[in-house]
Point group: C2
Chain length 700, copies 2
């Protein structure tokens, strides 16, 4: 359902409109009137006949005709009744400003649930409760209790904090940052960021979607919608609350390293969401995206009238993996025609401290024609002869005449001397940044978004696996009340999903072990098998590198001796005789269930690396092959897998294959809440990967 009528209703009732000036119900009415709202406006208040000369109705039911949007500003306990009345006036939309719901505790949460149920019955969508309201600058309507209506613009802003919203609105108005829409989400009982992202995908006034979120609703839906919308419009989000709330009970490696912050990070990456770390970044990015076209490549030209800021910008380019464009010969020749000899004709182009507007203009005219340049950053410091405003006009003029769609950002530095220039640039859709570093950082984010948009989305592959076999194992486990799978069971599950494990057979005595050894071949690994022993190494239950029959005999006995001494009561099923994997690197693939986003896959280098460096990457399952590759390439120690010091590269493709199969497994069986394939032995390129061990836990 389009939200068009929500943002620009034909008729609005303010239920709880008040004559007392300091009351929210009064302020909202004021703001709607002052914003120039052109639809019908009905204040509702049993105690007033009129407010501001507008007729006031004793109840919703007395309002003549339908009410598109009901804005409710009355105490929480009366909201439900009003909603019922609204339903009789064909109301489709409501904004519940009133507090006193979920945010106040158990009673309030109950009240909120009732509200949602009833609203569904009535067919009324709700924004809030406990919110600030909405603004639509196009309609126009300011249905918030903040008097600061920002100027019209292309940025849609969603805030999960109403208070932060007021600060942003004040800041936007003061700094002339244009918004298309503003929405305060409140408790998100019904309308959430998902609805808004989805609606704004095709909403013509909004070109950049921005949001302050403290959490998302319906994680998987969030990823689905965002990854679709972000291909059309940038979605820039600041997500606060990155501390993991409380300790969760986890027993796996993956569980220890996972957590809510990691899940959000993974989800945002998969959804193509641009993450801002601060409000400052959020609007730096939003300004640039809404003012300027996306750069088509990674190469920037910097034009400056001072060396220092040029160096600062260059440093930041290096940090951000942005390339300084190599200027074409004709560009350099063109610059040499008019720039003074002492200028720097190469990138960053230093046109010297005495540069007037005209020199900036000529330089830009030459550089803009260079096809090696994808974006231009113009730096200016106000020196003795500098003409900031005239320079700003010159830049705009060149851009307008060039007919070229190229990204141009500026950093005119200083205070009052550049103020008018900066304002003029903003009016002409050229974003200015207080410091060069912020211009470059913003450019980086724009370039990454270009990459994201150009990336094809690959489908999730569906491997031919033996689901039935796995189903049986889980059924068996659950029926026995076990939550941790045994080693042989876990092996079987991987087998069913075609994830190779070392060849292995269970031996009940030494003769059987010798027979098995004959089949598998030396070297071997021996492992005790017992449902009572989880940490085999601790009880001397593992021996590796068994090279011949003599060693097999010795070690077989030794394991039994140790285990019987440490755990005399353990139920021993036998000893697993297992292929020893040579020439391998140890990695880990894991899964941990995130309460918000569901199964989250982890990959990292194994052993001490994982413990000391926490060098792992996460993605939300199911994954496409492309995303799986991305998560493998993302770890810092990837060089070790690619082969350093002339080492052979490892079989990275086989890791990806196993990640995909593991992703399918945990997606097929939501009862899996934790899984560690640890170690996953990776052999040389072309030789595959083998799961050395696996632990699987299922939900109770």
């Amino acid at each position: 359902m389009s939200l068009r009528n929500f943002f620009c209703p034909s008729s609005v009732a303010v239920i709880g409109a008040s004559r007392e000036e300091e009351k929210v119900g009064h302020i909202i009415l004021d703001n709607i009137i002052n914003s120039g709202y052109k639809g019908k406006l009905f204040p509702v208040n049993p105690k007033a006949d009129e407010i501001h000369g507008i007729k006031c109705y004793p109840s919703v039911l007395n309002v003549p005709g339908d009410i598109d949007l009901a804005i409710i500003v009355i105490p929480a306990q009366f909201v439900l009744q009003v909603l019922e009345e609204c339903s009789k006036k064909n109301t489709k939309w409501s904004i519940i400003i009133s507090a006193g719901f979920k945010e106040t505790g158990i009673e309030g949460a109950k009240r909120e649930r009732q509200l949602i149920e009833k609203a569904k019955d009535y067919g009324i969508r709700i924004l809030g409760p406990n919110c600030l309201g909405i603004i639509d600058t196009e309609c126009p309507i300011n249905a918030t209790f903040s008097p600061n209506m920002p100027p019209m613009g292309k940025i849609g802003f969603i805030s999960q904090s109403g208070a932060l919203g007021t600060a942003i609105l004040d800041w936007a108005k003061t700094n002339k940052i244009g918004f298309s829409k503003f929405v305060s989400l409140g408790n998100k009982a019904d309308i959430s960021e998902n609805d808004l992202f989805d609606d704004w995908e095709n909403e013509k006034d909004t070109e950049v979607i921005t949001a302050y979120l403290e959490g998302v609703k319906y994680g998987r839906e969030f990823i689905r919608i965002s990854s679709k919308v972000s291909k059309k419009k940038p979605i820039i989000v600041i997500k606060s609350g990155n501390t993991d709330a409380g300790a969760r009970a986890v027993s796996s490696h993956t569980g220890t390293l996972a957590g809510s912050a990691k899940a959000y990070e993974a989800a945002f990456k998969q959804a193509g969401i641009i993450r801002a770390n601060t409000i400052r970044d959020l609007f730096n990015y939003a300004k640039a995206f809404s003012y300027q076209p996306l750069p088509k490549g990674k190469k920037v030209a910097i034009i400056t009238n001072a060396g220092g800021p040029g160096i600062m910008a260059t440093d930041e380019c290096e940090k951000s993996d942005i390339l300084l464009a190599s200027l074409k010969k004709e560009t350099i020749d063109g610059l040499k025609e008019f720039l003074p000899e002492a200028a720097n004709f190469y990138n960053p182009i230093d046109i010297l401290g005495d540069a007037l507007a005209d020199r900036y203009k000529k330089t830009l005219e030459v550089v803009i024609k260079d096809n090696n340049v994808n974006a231009i950053v113009m730096l200016l410091t106000p020196q003795a002869m500098t003409q900031p405003l005239k320079t700003a006009r010159a830049i705009v003029e060149v851009m307008e005449n060039s007919g070229k769609s190229i990204t141009v950002l500026t950093s005119f530095m200083g205070g009052s001397e550049v103020e008018k220039a900066v304002k003029f640039l903003a009016e002409k859709n050229i974003p200015n940044f207080d410091i060069p570093e912020e211009a470059i950082d913003t450019l980086k984010v724009m370039m990454e978004h270009t990459d994201w948009k150009s990336r094809r989305s690959f489908p999730i592959e569906d491997f031919n696996v033996d689901k039935g076999r796995v189903k049986k194992i889980f059924y068996q486990c659950q029926s026995e009340g076990r939550l941790e799978l045994g080693e042989m069971e876990a092996r079987e599950i991987l087998e069913a999903y075609d994830i190779r494990m070392p060849k292995a057979e269970l031996a009940c005595d030494i003769d059987e072990a010798k027979e098995i050894a004959g089949r598998i071949g030396y070297p071997l690994v021996l492992k005790i098998v017992s449902p009572n022993i989880l940490h085999k190494t601790d009880v001397g239950g593992v021996k590796i590198g068994i090279d011949n029959e003599k060693e097999l005999e010795e070690n077989y006995d030794e394991i039994l001796f140790h285990v019987k001494r440490y755990m005399p009561d353990a139920n021993i099923r036998g000893i697993l005789v297992q292929e020893f994997i040579k020439d391998k690197k140890e990695t880990i693939i894991g899964m941990s269930e995130d309460p918000q986003f569901g199964p989250m896959i982890m990959f990292g280098l194994g052993g001490i690396y994982i413990e000391a460096l926490k060098d792992v990457s996460f993605r939300i399952a199911p994954l496409s092959r492309q995303v799986a590759r991305e998560m493998v390439e993302e770890i810092k120690t990837i060089k070790l897998l690619k082969g350093i010091r002339g080492e052979d590269p490892s079989d990275i493709d086989s890791i990806i294959e196993i990640i995909l199969r593991a992703s399918q497994l945990v997606t097929d069986f939501p009862e899996i809440i934790e899984m560690d394939i640890n170690p996953l032995f990776v052999k040389k390129q072309g030789e595959g990967s083998i799961a050395g061990d696996v632990r699987i836990r299922i939900g109770g």
Copy 2:
């Protein structure tokens, strides 16, 4: 020599003062007059009788009486002669604004060298050339060609970029940021940051030293002066130009990982310099340091009228290792007396959206008494009833009445609604930050500076070593024209500095090898020794894990076979029979000569870690034991040395000991330009460390 007369001279001559308004020589004269300078002012210009009604002199020699400070604004080729004339007027200080020196190329550099030599003879100190001049707001004098004199304040600012200086001055004036002094360094032919830091250590008007530097002059002197001054006053530096210029010829691991950026990072740490990443950070920090006392500990209380910004601040605390103070029971009880029930009485303290100034005031009064709190951050968003200015006044009032020295920072967010409040806070020395994250980040930097100031400086230890022996070896090498030391020579050097290496003896035939094996004991390592073979492994010249005499015989022959095949002409001195070190971790200690700061020591975990992760730390030699410990603790993989998964911890003390001895070695012998002790085998705690191999290169 104190710079007092330089910053506030009794008499100033402007040589090159001009009547033409757009000329620098005119603007400077104007600025000096407009700044309210009270000393004698002498314009010098042969073509003018007076400028602005001030008598103008045809030459320096015609000026009546002495000239304290000569400001020179004439073409480069005439500067030398003017300097000579100045010497006859007892001039002690000069500011050379004129360009046309080192910055223009070889000719200019020559001219600059002449200038410096002559100035030394005349006893005249020089600022510049090619600079913007100086400002002293206390004197007052604005002897720059920027008309923007900032208000009086406690921040001294040094800029190596004149143009950036003009932007900063404009910005400071607009934002009412107070400066004590401003200095544009220009080419730093004579007066450098070192002189200024040293002078400002005891200069009463300057409480915070800030600088924009593109490089430092005399690196070791810079560290010496800065580490002394930073114990008294914070020195905040933004250092640009972090890209290493060009590829250097390096042959060692250390050399590959070192470089100018690493050297600056190390030097700044050792000197207690606070590093700002951007101009924004620089002045955020400077404001806080100049307005507020240092926090005495790491615990902060956050007071907010909105949840969102509270969460943002909390997130940033977590990132910055700042602790949210646990409020005392009496604090919480005190808050409960007047805060509404829905408020959050714990940290961050949420006093709700309807908080008026009075509620802020009462809250601050209670919290300020809590001794668990070292710093307070007050957040405010302008909601419907918020009173920003009144709240600002209340904060100031509480602070003034409390008589307590506690750090208070604010983040009043928004635009015009908080503008007056922010201005008022600044006037009362309470720094406001646009966003909460910047307040917390600044607090972190202040807390780190508290740590730095409280840290005792430990002396450099002087080990009893055999310097004479090392001197002989280098002499021998140099006389043979060799730049890379042989293995036996390098071993001997470490021995002379009491750095243990594996027991080893050179065998010339297999019988000798067996004899040696008898003395050292198995297992062993065999290594070819030849001055022609640098990469022994590549030619099959190394065998490890020799367990018995049979293996010794086999491997001895095998090495000779391989080496003779690969390098038939190599001059083979024999085979080194060496102790095999068991149960160890591999680390690396290295040294690389930095052109700016001299010998730089590196430490890191060895092997693949160093190549893939570049997890290493650097410090400039010589080091105190404390600094050596710091550099060991700094690496990310330190956990591996401290022992994870119940592993025994490694002997970290012995690493530190070897770092110190290596530091002494490279300090004693500046001819060493590169050294790698790689691997350094570290055994269990108490068992020491052993240098597995060492390579040393000396300068030509």
